[in-house]
Amino acid sequence: MQQKLKKNYKKLKFRWEYFLVLLLIVEVVIFGTLNPRFLKPQVLFGSVNDFISICIIATFMCFVFITGGIDLQAGSIVGLTSIIIGVMWKYVGVNIYLACLIAIIIGCLCGALSGFFIGFTGVQPMVVTLGGSFLYSGLAIAVSNISKTAAYLGISGFPEHFTAFTKKRFFGVVPAQFLIFLALVVIAYIILHRTKYGRKVFLCGINQNAAGFTGINTKLIIMSTYIFSGMAASITGIIMTSYLGSSKSDFGGDLTMPIITAVVLGGTSTLGGKGGVVGSALAAIVIGIMRFGLSMNGMPNQYLDIPVGIMLVIVVAGSCISKNQKISALLHHYINIKN
């Protein structure tokens, strides 16, 4: 019985990621027929620049979801790291790449601070990361006040070699940040699905007490997942700064909802213990392509939350209904009658 269940589960999991690929293909076909310009490789790959931040953060955010947590602060860490790069480079006078390194370290520290409170004091992750999102976005504004430039202008004038990197296109079409994203997905996949550490993350999400009794340092594992998500946010901050050529404190402020949508759409359970890197990455691309395709077909940017929200609700409702035994029994009953 159990083996049968396991087999079914494996099948379902595979099916889910296949389903996402199918969704992606359907999207490309629909938008391609509506607007043939969409299918040009230049345009299609160029659109990645618009949603690369969602992809990168969602890939690492699924770690947090798998331990049963939630992270609302990634968006504000993006802004904080971006402004730190600008201030470090322009007003402190460090090398731009050193500034990037400092930004990554600060992103990790931000994640570690929240992770510490969540892991070691047992406060609900939602509250701490909510506080963290206020704190880090406030800090970003404070840092930008140091720079003595108006917050809405941002700091610009970065050296050519720093901004050129993200505008480079390999083989003429594939932007550099897409390759960075692929590399990060591979790294995240290996960490989560091919190492001992990854198994520990899963066990922490399934049953934290049991994980503790088997000798796993659950507090440290939980804290580490938030460090990963903070790191991903800071990498996003660097890429955004480089691509847009300016550093601002309010980058990433509206990323929270798309990121959570991507992780959940990727098949990761919010209750923990289930999910995967590939699903999150694919789902992020699905959402990004949908937003891009709709706006290319003349939908105003502000309306884009409607289809994304509807998709999120329908997908989650579908998966919850399929889990609900009463409803699935009813469905089986009706199908049997029809047959």
Binding site: Q124, G132, S133, L135, I141, L271, P300, L312, V316, C320
Partner: protein, 344 residues
């Protein structure tokens, strides 16, 4: 002394102490802050937050969360403001706003209670949808030119307090007694405290959750009309972030996000703290840009201190139990010698 002990054990105690300490410190730095007029302005300014926090508290009592009230507030504010601007009566506008709240709350409640979707995801999705709808409704434009007579309603009041704030406090006290003293009101916390237990003793869990979501959205809609009256215009981003501020107000007021713990009075004080921060910053001579920083630090500090104190209390209780047990055993051995004795 007994009274004091009882008070310190209450959940909202720390937030009340914190509020007074905050006001006292700011008063020492800048005595103008403690003038009666200014305190009344602080209270009036907290009206919208307080109503949102009351609604949010009902949802959090049942162990769920509602991240969609910001968009609900924005949409009903836009609709109400444009209706009042076009000459309909304010009562009708209020009713329409409440209807919007009813619909959104029912959708949330249906998804969470009936379909069993995790509430944070359901409400984040609904938040996006409703936000988009309000863009469609307003066309991205501001709703301005709300008639003067409607704006003046928020200026009227007694002893410097507006009628809105007095009304809010009265309703808050009524809801507080309903939730703590009445049979049906106690369902909310019973569901959040132990859902399976509530099912077993026959509490209608699904209906209770549904009602809590509907009430929360209706609270946001009522708040939106007061928002229009106070501010006088509605932008497409009005209400953004109110959901997070309301959650923060509840948490600062001692309401536990795991459900079942806390009360309305705490939520009211939490909302007052949240609303006072930006005014306090001005009186301290700082830019109100630091609003978010202070809010974040406050939220994390209060919650972490609370968690640590609770952990210490649990540990202390465990130690006491252990000490009592060993004492009993020792006594038993002294008395009984070879006799078997009950170690419990």
């Amino acid at each position: 002394m007994d009274f004091m002990k009882k008070m310190t054990k209450r959940r909202e105690f720390s937030s009340i102490i914190f509020l007074f300490a905050l006001y006292a410190i700011v008063g020492i730095v800048n005595p103008a802050f403690l003038k009666l007029d200014n305190i009344m302005l602080c209270l009036n300014g907290a009206t919208v937050y307080t109503i949102c926090a009351i609604g949010m508290a009902l949802v959090i009592f049942t162990g769920e969360i509602d991240a969609s009230i910001g968009a609900t507030l924005g949409l009903s504010a836009a609709v109400a403001a444009s209706m009042i601007r076009d000459g309909s009566s304010s009562i009708l506008a209020l009713l329409i706003a409440i209807c919007i709240g009813l619909v959104i709350g029912s959708i949330n409640g249906f998804g969470v209670a009936v379909l069993k979707i995790p509430s944070i995801i359901m409400t984040i999705g609904v938040n996006g949808i409703v936000r988009g709808i309000s863009y469609v409704y307003t066309g991205g434009a501001w709703v301005e030119n709300v008639p003067r007579h409607f704006k003046e309603v928020s200026q009227m009041g007694m002893f410097g307090l507006s009628w809105f704030y007095i009304g809010t406090i009265v309703i808050m006290i009524l809801i507080h007694f309903y939730v703590t003293k009445k049979r049906h009101g106690r369902y909310f916390q019973a569901v959040g405290d132990n859902e399976d237990g509530a099912i077993h003793i026959g509490i209608p869990v699904t209906a209770t959750k549904m009602i809590s979501f509907i009430l929360c959205a209706v609270c946001a809609s009522v708040a939106s009309v007061i928002f229009v009256s106070r501010i006088g215009f509605v932008t497409p981003t009005s209400g953004n972030g109110y959901e997070m501020k309301a959650i923060a107000a509840c948490v600062i007021g001692g309401i536990s996000l795991s459900g079942g713990i806390g009360n309305m009075i705490g939520a009211t004080f939490g909302a007052l703290i949240m609303a006072s921060i930006s005014r306090i910053l001005v009186f301290l001579g700082l830019s109100s840009n630091y609003d978010n920083t202070i809010t974040g630090i406050l939220l994390i500090t209060i919650v972490v201190i609370d968690a640590v104190i609770q952990k210490c209390n649990i540990e202390k209780a465990r130690r006491e139990r252990l000490a009592a047990k060993t004492a009993a055993v020792v006594e038993c051995e002294l008395e009984g010698g070879n006799k078997t004795c009950n170690r419990n």
